[in-house]
Symmetry: C2
Subunit: 213 residues, 2 copies
DNA sequence: CGGACCGTTGACACTTATCAAACGCGGTGG
DNA sequence: CCACCGCGTTTGATAAGTGTCAACGGTCCG
């Protein structure tokens, strides 16, 4: 996550590095959220930075036309809730039972500095996602999504999706029907196997990568 | 651009704040680029942060299928080229004659801290753009684009686009034909007037905003 | 005058959204 | 134990939107 440029000795203090890597510096204890419970909501004041301890989080915005766009999923170790402006413009919800550790930004404003790598990481993810969403067909988006989830699950060939179809659809800018059809296509080509609604098994890694042009 | 959280006294040093607001702290003199000239390219080492002095910049990536996606446009005052990892994953090019000031990140790595607001700003823009691109129709995307350009031109009703149609298309995830058709639709509804290929005049601001759901 | 470049317009094909229905599964209650 | 219901997913038919291919028009410049 950290880059050569952001390596030790760059002005980022050691305790913050530790915090970033999972230390418990100045943080509240982990609090638990149930499925669908909101961690922060659009319009609320920004005052905390959050880190997923276990489970998963979706960050989304609802447009005036009623459509929901999931901007990002966050999993164990990911920081989120970092933004400029004093009010949240998005909503963060737990997916399943989720543990969140938060740190207060007001009390300790210089902590922002330590969070720079996390912000850069989020920024990078947003750009990657933008590419997938804008210039790929439905099947290609789903393929990219599966690879992303596989990677986040430790590059495992077999894994369970945290989220239902509607979340996948709202993340990829598709409808649930199109997501479902795309999965079926990949299944029929023998590239993946589906184990129930959430279970994914990648049979042909190469073929999947080939789709993600 | 700066938020309450990032106001003075937050640990960001005064010289860096000055730098961000346009001061000339530790920066090289402005260098000039001609239309289409690259400022950095995908694969190059990350070593500088850049700031647009005049003109405009497009940051894009080319996918394996040959399609180009413009991730962001940057105008006077905007910082760009900030990312994690040690190699650029995108290419930045001047649009028209453009002045760029750069600062060396290696020599002065703690400067990253002062750039945090700029990174947050870029992150925020990327997310906004993601929403426009994923959940809006062609006309709505073009409408949002015109409002964005109007805002960047100081909320002026009449302005000139910096970039040709192909850039607009690659920014919005559309084809030049669809962009052209969308502009024609807006023109026919009396919402905008077109003054040559680059000139835009917004006749009904409200109607345009109404399209951006 | 001719050509190159950019933008517009038109015809058509293809992808995906929409609307609708069926399926599978877990839970509840008779 | 089994029928029933609710929910999420899948599948099907159709329509709308956008991409593709092609032609045309305008401007700039040699």
């Amino acid at each position: 996550m950290l880059t050569s440029i952001l390596a030790p000795g760059t002005g980022i203090s050691a305790p913050l590095m530790e915090l970033l890597s999972g230390g418990e510096v100045e943080s509240k204890p982990t609090s638990s959220f149930v499925d669908g419970q909101s961690i922060y909501s659009s319009g609320e004041r920004v005052g905390q930075a959050y880190r997923v301890e276990f489970g998963a989080v979706r960050v989304y915005r609802v447009l005036a036309n009623g459509r929901r766009q999931i901007l990002a999923f966050h999993f164990g170790g990911n920081w989120f809730g970092l933004q400029n402006g004093d009010r949240h413009r998005s909503t963060a919800e737990a997916i399943g039972v989720t543990g969140i550790r938060s740190i207060n930004l007001q009390k300790d404003p210089h902590i922002w500095q330590g969070l720079l790598p996390a912000v850069l990481e989020n920024f990078s993810s947003a750009q990657e996602h933008q590419l997938v969403i804008c210039r790929q067909s439905a099947v290609e988006r789903v393929a990219a999504f599966l690879l992303e989830m596989s990677e986040r699950a430790g590059n495992s060939q077999r894994f369970e999706l945290f989220m239902p179809r509607v979340d996948v659809a709202d993340y990829l800018g598709l409808t649930i029907e199109t997501v479902s059809r795309s999965l079926t296509k990949l299944k029929n080509k023998g590239i993946i196997k589906l184990h129930g609604p959430r279970g994914i098994e990648i049979m042909q890694y190469r073929a999947l990568q080939g789709l993600c042009l």
